[in-house]
Protein backbone atom coordinates (compact mmCIF):
# COMPACT_ATOMS: atom_id res chain seq x y z
CA UNK A 1 0.00 0.00 0.00
CA UNK A 2 1.39 3.40 -1.02
CA UNK A 3 0.88 6.21 1.47
CA UNK A 4 1.62 9.80 0.45
CA UNK A 5 2.49 11.90 3.47
CA UNK A 6 3.37 15.52 4.23
CA UNK A 7 7.11 15.87 4.91
CA UNK A 8 6.49 16.96 8.51
CA UNK A 9 4.70 13.69 9.31
CA UNK A 10 7.10 11.33 7.55
CA UNK A 11 9.02 10.15 10.63
CA UNK A 12 5.92 9.70 12.81
CA UNK A 13 4.24 7.70 10.03
CA UNK A 14 7.29 5.48 9.64
CA UNK A 15 7.23 4.65 13.33
CA UNK A 16 3.45 4.10 13.17
CA UNK A 17 3.91 1.90 10.09
CA UNK A 18 6.16 -0.46 12.03
CA UNK A 19 3.55 -1.34 14.62
CA UNK A 20 0.79 -1.25 12.01
CA UNK A 21 2.61 -3.78 9.84
CA UNK A 22 3.15 -6.05 12.83
CA UNK A 23 -0.51 -5.84 13.87
CA UNK A 24 -2.18 -6.03 10.49
CA UNK A 25 0.37 -7.55 8.15
CA UNK A 26 -0.15 -4.91 5.45
CA UNK A 27 3.10 -3.46 4.09
CA UNK A 28 3.29 0.34 3.81
CA UNK A 29 5.43 2.28 1.35
CA UNK A 30 5.91 5.84 2.59
CA UNK A 31 6.15 8.60 -0.03
CA UNK A 32 6.84 11.99 1.52
CA UNK A 33 6.66 15.39 -0.09
CA UNK A 34 5.01 18.78 -0.09
CA UNK A 35 1.24 18.54 0.26
CA UNK A 36 0.61 20.86 -2.69
CA UNK A 37 2.81 18.76 -4.95
CA UNK A 38 1.27 15.48 -3.87
CA UNK A 39 -2.19 16.93 -4.36
CA UNK A 40 -1.27 17.77 -7.95
CA UNK A 41 0.16 14.28 -8.45
CA UNK A 42 -3.05 12.68 -7.15
CA UNK A 43 -5.07 14.71 -9.66
CA UNK A 44 -2.73 13.36 -12.35
CA UNK A 45 -3.44 9.80 -11.26
CA UNK A 46 -0.58 9.03 -8.85
CA UNK A 47 -0.98 5.50 -7.44
CA UNK A 48 -1.43 6.44 -3.78
CA UNK A 49 -3.86 4.56 -1.51
CA UNK A 50 -3.92 6.99 1.41
CA UNK A 51 -2.96 10.65 1.57
CA UNK A 52 -1.89 12.32 4.81
CA UNK A 53 -1.85 16.05 4.05
CA UNK A 54 -0.28 18.88 6.02
CA UNK A 55 -3.53 20.84 5.89
CA UNK A 56 -7.28 20.38 5.50
CA UNK A 57 -7.58 22.42 2.29
CA UNK A 58 -6.22 19.83 -0.13
CA UNK A 59 -8.18 16.91 1.36
CA UNK A 60 -11.34 19.05 1.18
CA UNK A 61 -10.62 19.88 -2.47
CA UNK A 62 -10.09 16.21 -3.26
CA UNK A 63 -13.38 15.38 -1.57
CA UNK A 64 -15.23 18.05 -3.57
CA UNK A 65 -13.68 16.70 -6.76
CA UNK A 66 -14.87 13.21 -5.90
CA UNK A 67 -11.36 11.79 -5.79
CA UNK A 68 -11.65 10.11 -2.40
CA UNK A 69 -13.49 7.21 -0.86
CA UNK A 70 -16.77 8.62 0.51
CA UNK A 71 -16.64 9.85 4.13
CA UNK A 72 -13.00 8.87 4.50
CA UNK A 73 -11.70 12.35 5.40
CA UNK A 74 -10.58 12.80 9.00
CA UNK A 75 -8.17 14.88 11.11
CA UNK A 76 -5.22 12.81 12.27
CA UNK A 77 -3.05 15.48 13.92
CA UNK A 78 -2.88 19.17 14.79
CA UNK A 79 0.46 20.83 14.24
CA UNK A 80 2.11 22.99 16.85
CA UNK A 81 4.37 25.93 16.09
CA UNK A 82 7.58 26.62 18.02
CA UNK A 83 10.23 29.35 17.94
CA UNK A 84 13.62 27.64 17.75
CA UNK A 85 16.82 29.56 18.60
CA UNK A 86 19.77 27.11 18.59
CA UNK A 87 22.33 29.63 19.87
CA UNK A 88 20.19 31.49 22.40
CA UNK A 89 18.91 29.41 25.31
CA UNK A 90 15.52 29.99 26.92
CA UNK A 91 13.90 32.10 24.23
CA UNK A 92 10.65 33.87 25.01
CA UNK A 93 8.47 35.59 22.47
CA UNK A 94 10.39 38.79 23.26
CA UNK A 95 13.33 37.31 21.34
CA UNK A 96 11.69 38.36 18.08
CA UNK A 97 11.71 42.02 19.08
CA UNK A 98 15.47 42.01 19.77
CA UNK A 99 18.26 42.42 17.23
CA UNK A 100 19.84 39.13 18.19
CA UNK A 101 19.15 37.53 14.82
CA UNK A 102 19.72 38.39 11.16
CA UNK A 103 17.33 35.86 9.70
CA UNK A 104 14.14 34.19 10.84
CA UNK A 105 13.30 31.08 8.81
CA UNK A 106 9.67 30.23 8.16
CA UNK A 107 7.90 28.01 5.66
CA UNK A 108 6.40 29.84 2.68
CA UNK A 109 2.98 31.07 3.93
CA UNK A 110 1.56 30.78 0.43
CA UNK A 111 2.40 27.07 0.21
CA UNK A 112 2.74 25.60 3.67
CA UNK A 113 0.33 25.59 6.61
CA UNK A 114 3.16 26.06 9.11
CA UNK A 115 4.22 29.12 7.12
CA UNK A 116 0.69 30.52 7.28
CA UNK A 117 0.61 29.89 11.03
CA UNK A 118 3.96 31.67 11.40
CA UNK A 119 2.57 34.63 9.46
CA UNK A 120 -0.58 34.74 11.61
CA UNK A 121 1.50 34.60 14.78
CA UNK A 122 3.80 37.41 13.65
CA UNK A 123 0.82 39.49 12.53
CA UNK A 124 -0.89 39.00 15.88
CA UNK A 125 2.17 40.59 17.49
CA UNK A 126 2.52 43.34 14.85
CA UNK A 127 5.88 41.91 13.81
CA UNK A 128 5.03 40.80 10.26
CA UNK A 129 5.84 44.11 8.57
CA UNK A 130 8.88 45.04 10.72
CA UNK A 131 10.49 41.62 10.14
CA UNK A 132 9.99 41.51 6.35
CA UNK A 133 13.67 41.99 5.57
CA UNK A 134 14.67 39.25 8.02
CA UNK A 135 12.25 36.58 6.86
CA UNK A 136 13.59 33.73 4.74
CA UNK A 137 11.01 31.40 3.27
CA UNK A 138 11.58 27.71 2.79
CA UNK A 139 9.55 25.80 0.25
CA UNK A 140 8.15 23.84 3.18
CA UNK A 141 8.79 23.51 6.88
CA UNK A 142 11.64 21.04 6.32
CA UNK A 143 13.56 23.56 4.25
CA UNK A 144 13.01 26.20 6.94
CA UNK A 145 14.53 23.69 9.34
CA UNK A 146 17.57 23.25 7.05
CA UNK A 147 18.13 27.01 7.01
CA UNK A 148 18.31 27.06 10.82
CA UNK A 149 20.14 23.75 11.19
CA UNK A 150 22.92 24.80 8.78
CA UNK A 151 23.44 27.93 10.87
CA UNK A 152 22.40 30.32 8.11
CA UNK A 153 19.38 31.57 10.04
CA UNK A 154 19.65 32.13 13.81
CA UNK A 155 15.98 31.48 14.47
CA UNK A 156 13.03 29.73 12.92
CA UNK A 157 9.31 29.31 13.42
CA UNK A 158 9.17 25.54 12.98
CA UNK A 159 7.03 22.54 13.77
CA UNK A 160 7.34 21.23 17.31
CA UNK A 161 7.39 17.74 15.82
CA UNK A 162 10.60 18.55 13.93
CA UNK A 163 12.32 19.72 17.10
CA UNK A 164 11.28 16.57 18.96
CA UNK A 165 12.47 14.43 16.04
CA UNK A 166 15.88 16.11 16.18
CA UNK A 167 16.09 15.70 19.98
CA UNK A 168 16.29 19.46 20.53
CA UNK A 169 16.32 20.30 24.22
CA UNK A 170 13.36 22.25 25.64
CA UNK A 171 15.85 24.97 26.55
CA UNK A 172 16.15 26.10 22.95
CA UNK A 173 12.59 26.60 21.88
CA UNK A 174 9.47 28.47 22.82
CA UNK A 175 6.10 26.88 22.16
CA UNK A 176 3.95 29.50 20.45
CA UNK A 177 0.56 29.84 22.21
CA UNK A 178 -2.03 28.03 20.12
CA UNK A 179 -4.49 30.95 20.21
CA UNK A 180 -2.02 33.07 18.20
CA UNK A 181 -2.67 31.17 14.97
CA UNK A 182 -5.44 29.21 13.31
CA UNK A 183 -5.09 25.50 14.14
CA UNK A 184 -2.83 23.59 11.74
CA UNK A 185 -5.33 20.84 11.05
CA UNK A 186 -3.72 17.94 9.21
CA UNK A 187 -6.25 15.73 7.47
CA UNK A 188 -6.06 12.36 5.81
CA UNK A 189 -8.15 10.81 3.05
CA UNK A 190 -8.45 7.31 1.64
CA UNK A 191 -8.04 7.38 -2.14
CA UNK A 192 -8.67 3.75 -3.00
CA UNK A 193 -10.88 1.27 -1.19
CA UNK A 194 -8.93 -1.65 0.22
CA UNK A 195 -8.85 -3.52 3.54
CA UNK A 196 -5.34 -2.21 4.15
CA UNK A 197 -6.35 1.44 3.61
CA UNK A 198 -9.37 1.10 5.90
CA UNK A 199 -7.21 -0.57 8.54
CA UNK A 200 -4.65 2.25 8.42
CA UNK A 201 -7.38 4.89 8.66
CA UNK A 202 -8.81 3.12 11.74
CA UNK A 203 -5.34 2.66 13.21
CA UNK A 204 -4.52 6.38 12.97
CA UNK A 205 -7.72 7.15 14.92
CA UNK A 206 -7.28 4.41 17.49
CA UNK A 207 -6.04 5.00 21.03
CA UNK A 208 -2.65 3.45 20.38
CA UNK A 209 -2.23 5.41 17.14
CA UNK A 210 -3.19 8.69 18.82
CA UNK A 211 -0.77 8.04 21.66
CA UNK A 212 2.13 7.77 19.22
CA UNK A 213 1.04 10.87 17.30
CA UNK A 214 0.93 12.92 20.52
CA UNK A 215 4.42 11.70 21.44
CA UNK A 216 5.75 13.17 18.20
CA UNK A 217 4.67 16.69 19.15
CA UNK A 218 1.20 16.97 17.68
CA UNK A 219 -2.03 17.95 19.39
CA UNK A 220 -4.98 15.67 18.73
CA UNK A 221 -8.49 16.38 17.51
CA UNK A 222 -11.40 15.59 19.80
CA UNK A 223 -12.68 12.12 19.15
CA UNK A 224 -15.44 11.82 16.58
CA UNK A 225 -17.28 9.10 18.52
CA UNK A 226 -18.20 10.83 21.77
CA UNK A 227 -17.25 8.09 24.19
CA UNK A 228 -16.91 10.52 27.11
CA UNK A 229 -13.16 10.51 26.63
CA UNK A 230 -13.23 13.85 24.86
CA UNK A 231 -10.47 15.12 27.13
CA UNK A 232 -7.66 13.68 25.04
CA UNK A 233 -7.03 17.10 23.47
CA UNK A 234 -3.44 17.79 24.53
CA UNK A 235 -2.34 21.38 24.78
Amino acid sequence: MQVAVASNFKAPLESLADSFEKQHGHKITVISGATGKQYGQILQGAPFDVFLAADSRRPELLEQQGKIVKNSRFTYAIGQLALYTPKHPHPTQEFLTTSRFNYLAIANPRLAPYGLAAQQYLQSRDLWQPLQTKLVRGENINQAWQFVHSGNAEAGLLALSQLLQADISKDYYYLVPAERYAPIVQQAVVLKTSPAATALSDFLQSDSGRKVIALWGYALPDRKDTDNKGTTHVR
Binding site: R137, S150, A153
Partner: protein, 226 residues
Protein backbone atom coordinates in the same frame (compact mmCIF):
# COMPACT_ATOMS: atom_id res chain seq x y z
CA UNK B 1 -0.14 41.29 -17.29
CA UNK B 2 2.54 40.58 -14.65
CA UNK B 3 2.27 41.32 -10.94
CA UNK B 4 4.85 43.59 -9.32
CA UNK B 5 6.50 40.65 -7.59
CA UNK B 6 6.91 38.86 -10.93
CA UNK B 7 8.52 41.89 -12.57
CA UNK B 8 10.87 42.20 -9.61
CA UNK B 9 11.80 38.51 -9.96
CA UNK B 10 12.39 39.00 -13.69
CA UNK B 11 14.61 42.01 -13.15
CA UNK B 12 16.55 40.19 -10.41
CA UNK B 13 17.07 37.19 -12.69
CA UNK B 14 18.41 39.34 -15.53
CA UNK B 15 20.70 41.16 -13.10
CA UNK B 16 21.97 37.87 -11.69
CA UNK B 17 22.61 36.43 -15.16
CA UNK B 18 24.37 39.58 -16.33
CA UNK B 19 26.68 39.94 -13.32
CA UNK B 20 27.46 36.22 -13.19
CA UNK B 21 28.30 36.15 -16.90
CA UNK B 22 30.60 39.13 -16.51
CA UNK B 23 32.47 37.50 -13.62
CA UNK B 24 32.59 34.19 -15.50
CA UNK B 25 34.12 35.81 -18.58
CA UNK B 26 36.78 37.55 -16.48
CA UNK B 27 37.66 34.36 -14.57
CA UNK B 28 36.95 31.88 -17.34
CA UNK B 29 38.94 33.47 -20.17
CA UNK B 30 42.43 33.12 -18.60
CA UNK B 31 41.44 29.72 -17.23
CA UNK B 32 40.31 28.49 -20.65
CA UNK B 33 43.40 29.94 -22.32
CA UNK B 34 45.63 28.12 -19.85
CA UNK B 35 43.68 24.88 -20.30
CA UNK B 36 43.95 25.13 -24.08
CA UNK B 37 47.72 25.80 -24.03
CA UNK B 38 49.03 23.91 -21.00
CA UNK B 39 50.78 20.56 -21.38
CA UNK B 40 50.55 19.80 -17.65
CA UNK B 41 49.87 16.07 -17.36
CA UNK B 42 47.32 16.43 -14.57
CA UNK B 43 45.28 19.01 -16.45
CA UNK B 44 42.46 16.48 -16.72
CA UNK B 45 41.87 16.76 -12.95
CA UNK B 46 41.01 20.43 -13.29
CA UNK B 47 38.96 19.78 -16.42
CA UNK B 48 36.90 17.15 -14.61
CA UNK B 49 36.30 19.49 -11.67
CA UNK B 50 35.11 22.29 -13.95
CA UNK B 51 32.74 19.92 -15.76
CA UNK B 52 31.14 18.68 -12.51
CA UNK B 53 28.10 21.01 -12.63
CA UNK B 54 27.18 19.46 -15.98
CA UNK B 55 26.39 16.14 -14.33
CA UNK B 56 25.65 17.02 -10.70
CA UNK B 57 22.11 17.84 -9.66
CA UNK B 58 22.03 21.56 -8.76
CA UNK B 59 20.63 20.56 -5.38
CA UNK B 60 23.96 18.89 -4.54
CA UNK B 61 25.82 22.08 -5.35
CA UNK B 62 23.18 24.06 -3.44
CA UNK B 63 23.41 21.78 -0.42
CA UNK B 64 27.19 22.13 -0.13
CA UNK B 65 26.93 25.85 -0.75
CA UNK B 66 24.37 26.11 2.07
CA UNK B 67 26.89 24.47 4.40
CA UNK B 68 29.83 26.48 3.05
CA UNK B 69 27.99 29.80 3.29
CA UNK B 70 26.85 29.25 6.89
CA UNK B 71 28.72 30.96 9.73
CA UNK B 72 30.64 27.73 10.38
CA UNK B 73 31.45 27.15 6.70
CA UNK B 74 34.59 28.56 5.03
CA UNK B 75 32.84 31.12 2.81
CA UNK B 76 30.47 32.24 5.56
CA UNK B 77 33.31 32.60 8.07
CA UNK B 78 35.15 34.75 5.55
CA UNK B 79 32.13 37.00 5.13
CA UNK B 80 31.54 37.39 8.89
CA UNK B 81 35.24 38.25 9.20
CA UNK B 82 34.56 41.24 6.98
CA UNK B 83 31.53 42.24 9.03
CA UNK B 84 28.93 40.58 6.80
CA UNK B 85 26.10 38.47 8.13
CA UNK B 86 26.66 35.32 6.11
CA UNK B 87 26.14 34.88 2.39
CA UNK B 88 23.09 32.65 2.21
CA UNK B 89 19.83 34.50 1.43
CA UNK B 90 21.80 37.32 -0.21
CA UNK B 91 22.28 38.36 -3.82
CA UNK B 92 26.05 37.92 -3.42
CA UNK B 93 25.43 34.33 -2.33
CA UNK B 94 23.41 33.72 -5.50
CA UNK B 95 26.20 35.20 -7.64
CA UNK B 96 28.74 32.85 -6.02
CA UNK B 97 26.41 29.89 -6.61
CA UNK B 98 25.79 30.88 -10.25
CA UNK B 99 29.49 31.24 -10.98
CA UNK B 100 30.10 27.64 -9.87
CA UNK B 101 26.96 26.43 -11.58
CA UNK B 102 27.60 28.01 -15.00
CA UNK B 103 31.40 27.66 -15.06
CA UNK B 104 31.59 24.78 -17.59
CA UNK B 105 29.17 26.55 -19.92
CA UNK B 106 31.61 29.43 -20.21
CA UNK B 107 34.97 27.66 -19.97
CA UNK B 108 34.33 24.83 -22.44
CA UNK B 109 33.38 26.90 -25.53
CA UNK B 110 36.26 29.26 -24.76
CA UNK B 111 38.72 26.41 -24.36
CA UNK B 112 37.62 24.87 -27.67
CA UNK B 113 37.93 28.20 -29.44
CA UNK B 114 41.39 28.85 -28.03
CA UNK B 115 42.47 25.33 -28.95
CA UNK B 116 41.52 25.98 -32.56
CA UNK B 117 43.83 29.01 -32.75
CA UNK B 118 46.83 27.59 -34.62
CA UNK B 119 50.10 27.76 -32.63
CA UNK B 120 52.00 28.68 -35.80
CA UNK B 121 50.07 31.95 -36.01
CA UNK B 122 51.13 32.83 -32.49
CA UNK B 123 54.72 31.76 -33.16
CA UNK B 124 54.84 33.98 -36.21
CA UNK B 125 53.65 36.90 -34.10
CA UNK B 126 56.27 36.07 -31.49
CA UNK B 127 59.07 36.23 -34.11
CA UNK B 128 57.74 39.71 -34.96
CA UNK B 129 58.38 40.56 -31.28
CA UNK B 130 54.77 40.58 -30.12
CA UNK B 131 54.72 39.96 -26.35
CA UNK B 132 52.50 37.29 -24.74
CA UNK B 133 49.76 39.77 -23.77
CA UNK B 134 49.89 41.38 -27.19
CA UNK B 135 49.61 37.96 -28.85
CA UNK B 136 46.67 37.10 -26.66
CA UNK B 137 44.68 40.29 -27.18
CA UNK B 138 45.42 41.02 -30.84
CA UNK B 139 45.53 37.47 -32.24
CA UNK B 140 44.08 34.76 -30.00
CA UNK B 141 41.08 36.64 -28.66
CA UNK B 142 39.85 37.98 -32.04
CA UNK B 143 40.31 34.54 -33.60
CA UNK B 144 38.34 32.97 -30.76
CA UNK B 145 35.56 35.58 -30.82
CA UNK B 146 32.83 33.13 -31.78
CA UNK B 147 33.80 31.03 -28.75
CA UNK B 148 33.68 34.13 -26.58
CA UNK B 149 30.20 34.91 -27.84
CA UNK B 150 28.95 31.35 -27.31
CA UNK B 151 30.43 31.35 -23.81
CA UNK B 152 28.73 34.61 -22.90
CA UNK B 153 25.32 33.59 -24.25
CA UNK B 154 25.46 30.09 -22.78
CA UNK B 155 26.58 31.39 -19.40
CA UNK B 156 23.80 33.98 -19.43
CA UNK B 157 21.10 31.58 -20.60
CA UNK B 158 22.09 28.88 -18.16
CA UNK B 159 22.04 31.28 -15.20
CA UNK B 160 18.66 32.56 -16.38
CA UNK B 161 17.18 29.11 -15.79
CA UNK B 162 18.93 28.44 -12.49
CA UNK B 163 16.65 26.82 -9.94
CA UNK B 164 18.05 24.16 -7.63
CA UNK B 165 20.93 26.19 -6.29
CA UNK B 166 18.71 29.20 -5.54
CA UNK B 167 16.07 26.97 -3.95
CA UNK B 168 18.68 25.64 -1.52
CA UNK B 169 20.46 28.88 -0.59
CA UNK B 170 18.07 31.67 -1.61
CA UNK B 171 15.33 31.73 0.99
CA UNK B 172 12.84 33.14 -1.54
CA UNK B 173 13.18 36.80 -0.48
CA UNK B 174 11.38 39.10 -2.97
CA UNK B 175 13.78 41.59 -4.54
CA UNK B 176 16.83 39.86 -3.12
CA UNK B 177 16.78 36.16 -3.91
CA UNK B 178 13.43 35.42 -5.53
CA UNK B 179 14.40 34.66 -9.15
CA UNK B 180 11.94 33.82 -11.93
CA UNK B 181 12.30 30.04 -11.67
CA UNK B 182 11.48 30.18 -7.94
CA UNK B 183 8.54 32.49 -8.54
CA UNK B 184 7.19 30.07 -11.16
CA UNK B 185 7.62 27.15 -8.80
CA UNK B 186 5.73 29.03 -6.09
CA UNK B 187 2.89 29.88 -8.49
CA UNK B 188 2.56 26.23 -9.54
CA UNK B 189 2.60 24.98 -5.96
CA UNK B 190 -0.01 27.57 -5.01
CA UNK B 191 -2.12 26.36 -7.97
CA UNK B 192 -1.94 29.81 -9.62
CA UNK B 193 -1.43 28.39 -13.10
CA UNK B 194 -2.20 31.67 -14.86
CA UNK B 195 0.74 33.49 -13.29
CA UNK B 196 2.96 30.44 -13.79
CA UNK B 197 2.08 30.36 -17.51
CA UNK B 198 2.90 34.04 -17.98
CA UNK B 199 6.38 33.83 -16.49
CA UNK B 200 7.13 30.40 -17.97
CA UNK B 201 6.23 31.48 -21.49
CA UNK B 202 8.39 34.56 -21.13
CA UNK B 203 11.39 32.53 -19.98
CA UNK B 204 10.82 29.96 -22.72
CA UNK B 205 10.76 32.68 -25.38
CA UNK B 206 13.81 34.45 -24.00
CA UNK B 207 15.87 31.26 -23.79
CA UNK B 208 14.88 30.21 -27.30
CA UNK B 209 15.83 33.58 -28.75
CA UNK B 210 19.23 33.44 -27.02
CA UNK B 211 19.92 29.95 -28.37
CA UNK B 212 18.68 30.94 -31.84
CA UNK B 213 21.28 33.67 -31.76
CA UNK B 214 24.05 31.21 -30.89
CA UNK B 215 23.15 28.68 -33.56
CA UNK B 216 22.68 31.33 -36.23
CA UNK B 217 26.10 32.75 -35.40
CA UNK B 218 27.74 29.32 -35.34
CA UNK B 219 26.37 28.66 -38.78
CA UNK B 220 27.71 31.92 -40.12
CA UNK B 221 31.15 31.30 -38.71
CA UNK B 222 31.23 27.80 -40.15
CA UNK B 223 30.37 29.18 -43.57
CA UNK B 224 33.19 31.69 -43.31
CA UNK B 225 35.88 29.28 -42.13
CA UNK B 226 36.87 26.61 -44.69
Amino acid sequence: MFADGDLMALWLTLKLAFISTLILLVLGTPLAWWLARSRWRFKFLLEAMIALPLVLPPTVLGFYLLLALGPDGPLGALSTLFGGSGLAFSFSGLVIGSVFYSLPFVVQPLQNAFASVHPATLDAAATLRAGPLDRFFTIALPLARHGLLSAAVLGFAHTLGEFGVVLMIGGNIPGQTQVVSIAIYEHVEALDYGAAHGLSALLLGLSFILLLGIYALNRRFKLVSP
